[in-house]
């Protein structure tokens, strides 16, 4: 995004709308830091500018900058998949598509949300780790596939390294039997996929009053629920 300096009146109303905190004052006018901006378009969509000084960058649909738009703006339709948003329709339509069938588990690893975004160099750390673990098959329709130069090493295309996006999601599918790593099982005993689906995927915490856990525990609304649920009588 960019703000036209010849039109901007420097009111600053657009500043709080930017999730990337990329808008600031420069010589009494608002300006967008092009490095920080991930082209989500929130400032433009909010229609907060009284003089309509906010515009899309002229190069926003040029590769590789366009990736910022596709991976950050929920309204942008990805040119590769034809789907608005960052990934495929994934499990939301699984009852119809049966992409993840019985005995399988779909896994989505996301980087960037909530809100802070990330550089694609951060994503490469994860793709390399996945490749090292032998996970090289990302869902075929996931646009992330197109960013990877070498699936065997997990290296992304070098020209993307300077790009920054709000989020990227790597979707994979595994057999349920492949879900556990030996070290995990060794550490926590036989913690099966069945238990995972019940939401008790972390060892029970000891010495903590569950009724006092609140939003500050970002690591698991589901974990909280599972422990809470056991205390409450079921319906009827």
């Amino acid at each position: 995004m960019l703000i036209r300096k010849d039109i901007c009146v420097g009111c600053g109303r657009c500043h709080p709308y930017c999730p990337a905190e990329a808008i600031s004052f420069e010589e009494l006018k608002s300006a967008v830091d092009q490095e920080k901006c991930y082209e989500c378009g929130t400032c433009l969509r909010s229609q907060i500018c009284p003089v309509e000084a906010i515009e899309e960058s002229p190069n926003v649909y040029e590769y590789p900058r366009a990736l910022r738009k596709y991976f950050s703006d929920p309204n942008a339709t990805n040119a590769l998949t034809g789907i608005a948003g960052r990934v495929t329709e994934e499990s939301k339509t699984n009852d119809v598509t049966n992409r993840v069938g019985p005995g399988q588990v779909g896994i989505a690893i996301e980087v960037g949300r909530p809100t802070i975004g990330m550089d694609l160099t951060d994503v490469q750390k994860i793709t390399r780790a996945m490749a090292k673990a032998g996970i090289t098959a990302i869902e075929p329709e996931n646009p992330f596939n197109d960013l990877i130069q070498d699936h065997k090493t997990g290296d992304l295309k070098p020209e993307l390294m300077s790009e920054r996006v709000l989020s990227a999601i790597m979707e994979i599918k595994v057999e349920r039997s492949q879900l556990l790593y030996p070290s995990y099982a060794e550490r926590g005993g036989q913690r099966s996929a069945k238990r995972l689906l019940r939401g008790c995927h972390y060892p029970p915490r000891t010495g903590v009053d569950d009724s006092r856990r609140s939003a500050s525990d970002h690591s698991g609304r589901r974990i909280y629920l599972a422990s809470q649920c056991q205390k409450q009588p079921g319906p009827g």
Binding site: P16, R45, G82, A84, K92, N94, R113, S214, S216
Partner: protein, 215 residues
């Protein structure tokens, strides 16, 4: 996956927050889905959702766009996103959706035990279950939890933490009331599952705890 899984808050607060999505599947029931989606959207409008958006127009309930215009915008493949304030409202909506049996995927997101209860009560057996394993890594870089209660209500992360703080400041300065502040926060959310009613309650709790240095 759905980012409604990342909604945060206390149990009491999240018990008043259920997101519902209707998704046609590309290559399966995408073509010819327009009349089915329109019927479902009309139905959902009658079920008093706290917020709702149709992906073909992306204007929420509080945008001032007439309902007829939103319904007229629906075309093949449009997605419907809405959020309910209570399990009873969600339950009523699900009963009606089940009766209509349009053959389009329906996804409900909320406290998993409550959603399971509701599904059981209306005679639905969930086909697929999504769970979030939480946020890992440099969690010190994300906004504090009280602000995340607001920002995570937009799954796409379009509600900026800075906007939440700005709304708090304007409420404290007497320039906005709680509801007006909530509607402003719902504005950037183009997926339509930002729950302004829950946001209003959260603001009532949060605003007294903040001090501001610039009015």
């Amino acid at each position: 996956m759905t980012h409604s899984l990342h909604r945060e808050g206390t149990i009491d607060s999240l018990e008043k927050d259920y997101a519902l999505f209707i998704y046609p599947a590309r290559g399966f029931n995408y073509e010819g889905s327009e009349p089915k989606l329109r019927r479902l959207a009309e139905l959902l409008y009658t079920q008093s959702p706290a917020n709702m958006i149709v992906s073909s127009l992306r204007r929420n309930l509080y945008s001032g766009v007439p309902r007829e215009e939103i319904l007229a915008s629906i075309k093949d493949g449009a997605k419907i996103y809405c959020v309910f304030n209570s399990r009873e409202q969600l339950k009523k909506a699900l009963i009606r959706i089940k009766e209509m049996n349009e053959g389009i995927s329906v996804m409900v997101s909320g406290l998993i035990d409550r959603v399971r209860e509701i599904a059981s009560e209306v005679g639905l057996n969930p086909h697929t279950i999504n769970l979030s394993l939480g946020i890992q890594g440099r969690t010190d870089r994300i906004p504090p939890s009280d602000i995340r209660q607001f920002t995570t209500m937009c799954g796409h992360g379009m509600v900026s933490p800075k906007l939440v703080r700005d709304v708090i400041r304007r409420i404290k300065a007497g320039k906005l009331d709680f509801w007006e502040g909530s509607v402003i926060l719902a504005g950037p959310c183009s997926c339509g599952i930002y729950n302004p009613a829950r946001s209003q309650e959260l603001l009532k709790d949060l605003v007294p705890l903040y001090t501001v240095n610039r009015l």
